[in-house]
């Protein structure tokens, strides 16, 4: 029987969503590290006693599958050993986690001594120890090199902190004050959730409140099935690739096949490369998150983000592959692979829904870590992920300068970086002629230049798309490639996409993100839009002619219609 009519259920859903959003705001406001407070690289949620995700904060789509999988690992060990005041922690990608920097906290919530569910907060910590500062090295070859590995354990027991765990974390990371500050932000978020659940349980009554969780899961399942039924039946396959793993030079293919049949959906990664030696292997739950996040974009915003939605999506990933590695494969830089998985999945979705899905986006591939010690031996670790641009869309241009659709990150203000790290930002802007040409143009590359002001440091680059271009669709051209350049005004040394190099005082490092793909044939682009791009110095007059077939008089800044028509006819 049902405890909630559809109207009451909607009210319950809104109530829980505001709780998990409040958790997210708490992390933003209290965290210490840039990657949490500015970039929002974290997720918050509420799970039921069985480990199902009931509600997730408006945070990071690429964490969608992570919260329930992490909790499953805890329930596996502790199902009969959970008491009020406990807090569980883990980060092991081979038991619930996805890579070591992501620390998971779960706080069981008890109402009248009955377990209601779990408040959950995942946060990407800036450093987790290991051989390279910033926790994102591509060239580790075993998980054991990547930092502190925490199996599912208790961080608090019956309200008392397990000091040993805190001490071990403190001893293993480069900047303990930040790690502990960020951990407190996660705890604060769980505390906020617990308080809110007390209030709601009082209002609804515990049994009814709990029943509401299952009804919300069923509701999401119903909505998801109806969405899948509306997808056209068929088999849609797409292959994209990573340039390399930072160790072996070969490209790494990712193949994805989507099968729709009635209200059934199978997402299969058969054909994807075997697991690689470098640290870009993506743990299974991260691969599932990429599928969930992409499919979610094709569903109505009404679908609640919970396990009821996910259980309709059958994700199959062969073992010991890039997308489902086995021990001891390294995984630290798996974020890069997450973005490429998303690009690949979107490529398949574009065949199923050509009128909705954009050409290839750019963003997230690039992670920049700069670590070292100041003159007085104080450690510093700078870490940031760079975004991005959207590909051209079936009805409009891509976006110049935007987060990824699967990871809603922000950027870091140059002034904040300069105030907190031994770095100066010399440039941050668009690079002309880099967006994929198309009827609807792909977003431009972003260029970012850093000058290092300490005596010694290590720069670690995780990037890609310097061999394989972001794809265009329906005749749209691919976006420009990415680049890494050391001291561009001096030696101008081109660096590979993934590397670890020492920096000395005054070194300038320049990263250029790839450009996003275009949609539709560029000769169909509205000539006025081409002129506007030229006037705004987003494309050159040469590119207008060569790529878009539009002839512009440089003196009068007007379109030469006759020459344009003649040129476009030759298409």
């Amino acid at each position: 029987m049902s405890f909630f009519d559809p109207i009451e259920l909607e009210l319950l859903k809104n109530g829980l969503e505001s709780v998990v959003d409040e958790m997210a705001l708490t992390i933003v406001r209290t965290a210490y590290s840039t990657n949490l407070k500015n970039s929002m690289d974290f997720s918050t949620g509420l799970c039921d006693t069985e480990g199902n995700l009931v509600a997730q904060g408006l945070c990071l789509p690429l964490h969608l599958g992570s919260l329930p999988d992490g909790l499953a690992a805890i329930l596996n060990r502790y199902r009969d050993d959970i008491e009020d005041g406990d807090v569980f922690i883990l980060n092991d990608p081979y038991e619930g986690g996805t890579h070591l920097p992501d620390i998971y906290l779960y706080k069981p919530i008890f109402i009248d001594r009955t377990l209601l569910g779990f408040a959950a907060a995942i946060a990407h910590h800036t450093d987790i120890g290991g051989r390279v500062a910033g926790g994102n090295a591509c060239d580790s070859t075993e998980i054991y090199q990547e930092g502190l590995r925490i199996p599912p354990v208790k961080l608090y027991e019956a309200g008392q902190p397990i000091q040993a765990i805190f001490d071990i974390i403190e001893r293993n990371v480069r900047v303990p004050r930040n790690a502990l500050g960020d951990l407190r932000a996660q705890l604060a978020a769980c505390h906020i959730c617990e308080q809110a659940c007390y209030r709601m349980a009082t209002r609804y009554g515990l049994d009814r409140f709990k029943a509401g969780f299952s009804e919300l899961l069923l509701y999401a399942e119903r909505l998801t099935r109806s969405e899948i039924s509306a997808f056209p039946d068929g088999v849609y396959a797409f292959t994209d690739q990573l340039d390399d793993d930072g160790i072996d030079p070969d490209p790494i293919p990712i193949t994805f096949t989507l099968t729709i049949s009635g209200d059934r959906l199978i997402a299969d990664f058969e054909g994807t490369a075997p697991q690689v030696r470098g640290a870009i292997n993506s743990a299974l739950s991260f691969t599932k998150s990429a599928v969930y996040a992409c499919l979610r974009c094709l569903m109505s915003p009404d679908v609640p983000t919970n396990s009821g939605c996910f259980r309709c999506l059958d994700v199959r990933v062969p073992e010991a592959t890039l997308a489902n590695p086995v021990l001891p494969a390294p995984v630290a830089a798996r974020g890069l692979t997450g973005f490429r998985l998303a690009n690949t999945i979107m490529g398949a979705l574009a065949q199923m829904a050509p009128d909705r899905v954009p050409a290839c986006e750019v963003g997230g591939d690039t992670g920049i870590s700069i670590g070292g010690y100041t003159a007085d031996r104080t450690p510093f670790v700078f870490l940031e992920f760079l975004f991005g641009a959207w590909g051209g869309r079936p009805d409009r241009d891509g976006i110049d300068g935007c987060a990824s659709i699967v990871v809603n990150f922000s950027n870091n203000p140059a002034e904040v970086i300069e105030a907190e790290y031994p770095l100066e930002i010399l440039q941050y802007g668009f690079l002309p002629d880099t967006g994929g040409a198309g009827k609807y143009r792909g977003g431009l590359s972003l260029i970012r230049e850093y000058r290092f002001t300490e005596t010694e440091g290590i720069l670690q680059i995780r990037s890609d798309r310097y061999i394989s271009h972001p794809y265009g669709l329906q005749g749209g051209k691919p976006g420009a490639l990415s680049r890494n350049i050391l001291n561009p005004d001096d030696e101008a040394r081109e660096l590979p996409g993934k590397c670890l190099i020492p920096l000395k005082k005054g070194d300038v490092f320049c990263h250029v993100l790839a450009g996003a793909g275009g949609w539709g044939h560029p000769f169909e682009r509205d000539t006025e839009r081409v002129l506007e791009d030229v006037q705004n110095e987003k494309i050159s007059i040469e590119s207008a002619k060569r790529d878009f077939g539009v002839v512009i008089d440089s003196k009068t800044s007007t379109i030469d219609s006759e020459a344009t028509i003649a040129l476009r006819r030759k298409r």
């Binding site: 109207i7 959003d21 409040e22 408006l58 604060a188 954009p358 409009r396 002034e415």
Partner: protein, 679 residues
């Protein structure tokens, strides 16, 4: 005579108080092509009616949408921007984030200055304030020549790290001013704070609206003088204080939220009068609902606001939907729930209210203007809460049959529910959405809403207030006199106010008393020029070293150990907001703030347009337990200080108050309808 004038998108409201305390009000349609026209017309009517000569006007206080409107309708000045070389795209890149997830059709707000008009000059101030690269004045000449050739009429300047050392901005400011008759906005004057995008955006918004607001206020001032008055014209700021029109014209970015702030000021003033210090202001109109908090008699402020960000609760978390400005403003949460919100059934079989709105055109089905989708107003009409004879004193008749038929066909039948259940469901879902706005300013800020009184106003606020109070556990709802004109009343209860800020960014223990004194003295001198004889209040924004968000702590007049006092105040605030504090972690002071103000005039609030007609009744629906119920419909004057038990409906000239079954309501000595949920 003092007059408050609140110009909104639909109506212009005027409230006049004569020297003897007589109150007169007038409501007329706004004139969007020239907002000042309705103001002058309305003022004429009031002066004529009260037989007052224009020369007897002593003060005009104005809440205006002219700044917001220029941004939303893209009718600001053609603006140029000059930045440090390498950073001209900061304005367009923004902070990258989307305000909605999973949406392929997401668009960033179009930059107010296109790339072509963003020019770079060579210069560089280091993070410690030293000049690393001298300002290249040849570059400056080139930029000026380019922007002149483009016929730019307003220029914004934002250089990297200028918050530490504004020398280069000051210099280019001089060069720009002597180069043409355009308006110039320097970031160091508008927002001398770290974070280049937020500072650039705030500076650009100011530059973009500056000529428009200047023109508007000058014209208005001229017309008022022609009319025969030299009374000072004052403008409501986003922060809830008023300032002279000249000051507003110089820094228009401070009046973007002018209108909504007035209602919050009115709530605070009302609280002051009735001796209630903790209130939630709740304002619901045709398309949006807004909530703000007053604690201990003080309006809670915020420092961030997005203009034109659309309306979504997630905006508070995600941002990116509009043009960010950092200026002191009332901390408002806004949701897109109003009478025009459209009802629909989603694919999972659940009822949804909004986010679409039928707006004013075609409007709800019951308006009979071609609306085909059922709205919240239709639901409230079907439930018997609204008078079918019509809104606005009967000027707009409502078609209940049409609303009923449409609700049955599009919502009730597909859901297999009765039309009353669906209408009541819509009413409750709308209330729940607005509850989230209230939570956003209370619970999410660490304040328990149960310790507050809900003050409901605006055309639709009093209709949903009791529902919301029940959901939030709020013990008392108060509906002030003239709920639809409440904001205009607020203008007359607002105080003169002027804010100054200095960035310090120092560990709290390293803060030298003489530094603090020097900074505050500097700010006080500036403030006293603006408001002679002002009282001053001082505060500091603090955070744990590493955090990016600050909490504000008041600095008392008498200070013994400033560092210790600030740290303790901060830790208390942190514990309240987030449930923990980190005793051993260093705390830093980010900014010092000074607010100069004069005492607030007394709010002249009183009942208006009350008719003591015969009491009436009509059937209304409150849920399956009670079924349809014949409900008394009374005017405010028919209530007494003795509580009466609901259900009944109180009809004012421009708003309807709903008192559900079993709830007690009474009139207090000031004419407020007081609804007690605990009795």
């Amino acid at each position: 005579m003092r007059v408050g004038i609140d110009i909104g998108g639909t109506f212009t409201d005027l409230v006049a108080v004569s020297d003897s305390g007589h109150v007169d009000v007038y409501k007329l349609l706004s004139t969007p092509e020239d907002f000042g026209q309705a103001l002058l017309d309305g003022l004429d009517v009031i002066l004529e009616r009260t037989k007052t000569p224009a020369s007897a006007l002593t003060e005009l206080v104005h809440g205006t949408t002219v700044a917001t409107n220029a941004i939303l309708s893209e009718t600001g000045a053609k603006t140029g921007l000059i930045t440090t070389r390498g950073f001209r795209d900061v304005l367009e890149i923004g902070r990258l984030r989307m305000s909605r997830l999973y949406d392929f059709s997401w668009e960033k707000p179009k930059p107010l200055v296109p790339r072509r008009l963003r020019r770079e000059v060579t210069e560089r101030i280091a993070v410690d304030g030293t000049v690393q690269t001298v300002l290249d004045e040849g570059d400056v000449s080139d930029a000026i020549a380019f922007l002149k050739a483009e016929c730019v009429t307003s220029v914004a300047v934002c250089f990297l790290n200028s918050y530490v050392n504004p020398a280069h901005e000051r210099r280019i400011g001089d060069l720009l001013r002597s180069a043409g008759d355009w308006t110039v906005t320097l970031s160091c004057d508008v927002l001398p704070e770290i974070r280049e995008f937020e500072r650039t955006s705030t500076t650009v918004v100011n530059a973009y609206i500056l000529p428009v607001v200047q023109r508007y206020l000058r014209t208005l001032k001229g017309s008022l003088e022609t009319m025969g008055t030299k009374a000072p014209l004052r403008i409501m700021q986003s922060g809830g204080g008023v300032m002279d029109a000249e000051t507003a014209a110089a820094l228009p970015v401070q009046i973007v939220e002018s209108g909504p702030a007035a209602g919050v000021v009115a709530t605070a003033a009302l609280g002051n009068r009735i001796g209630c210090e903790n209130l939630i202001a709740f304002d619901m109109g045709g398309t949006t609902a807004k909530a703000a908090l007053i604690e201990g008699g003080k309006i809670l402020g915020a420092m961030d606001y997005e203009v034109g960000g659309g309306i979504s609760l997630s905006g508070r978390l995600l941002g990116g939907g509009g043009y960010p400005i950092r200026v002191p403003c009332v901390d408002l949460a806004e949701v897109g729930a109003g009478g025009g919100s459209v009802l629909r059934v989603d694919a999972g079989g659940a009822l949804q209210v909004g986010p679409d709105s039928a707006g004013a055109d075609p409007g709800p089905v019951c308006y009979g203007c071609g609306g085909l989708r059922p709205t919240l107003t239709d639901a409230n009409l079907v439930l018997g809460y609204l008078n079918p004879v019509g809104l606005a004193g009967g000027t707009l008749e409502l078609d209940r049959e049409a609303a009923l038929e449409c609700l049955i066909k599009t919502v009730a039948d597909p859901m297999d529910l009765t039309v009353e259940e669906v209408a009541l469901g819509a009413h409750r879902i709308a209330s729940a959405r607005m509850v989230r706005a209230v939570r956003a300013v209370s619970g999410e800020r660490g304040y328990d809403p149960r310790a507050f009184t809900l003050v409901a106003f605006g055309g639709s606020g009093p209709l949903h207030a009791v529902d919301m109070a029940q959901e939030l556990g709020i013990p008392q709802v108060l509906v002030p006199c003239a709920p639809g004109l409440f904001s205009a009343f607020g203008l007359l209860g607002a105080r003169m106010q002027y804010d100054r800020v200095r960035t310090v960014l120092k560990p709290v223990d390293d803060l030298l008393p003489e530094t603090v004194d020097r900074l505050f003295n500097g700010m006080a001198a500036e403030a006293r020029v603006m408001i002679p004889g002002a009282e001053l209040s001082r505060s500091a924004d603090l955070r744990y070293v590493g955090q990016s968000y600050e909490l504000s702590v008041t600095i008392p007049d008498e200070v013994h150990d400033l560092g210790a006092q600030l740290r303790k105040g901060f830790e208390t605030a942190h514990k309240r907001a987030y449930g923990h504090m980190a005793e051993n972690d260093p705390v830093e002071v980010v900014t010092l703030r000074l607010r100069a103000f004069l005492p607030a005039p007394e709010l002249p609030l009183q009942a208006v347009g009350v008719t003591s007609g015969d009491s009436d009744s009509r059937p209304a629906y409150f849920g399956s337990d009670l079924g349809w119920h014949d409900v008394a419909v009374v005017s405010r004057s028919q209530l007494s200080v003795e509580p009466s038990v609901g259900p009944f409906i109180v009809e004012d000239y421009d708003a309807t108050t709903l008192v559900p079954p079993g709830i007690w309501a009474r009139l207090d000595e000031w004419g407020n309808v007081v609804i007690d949920l605990k009795s």
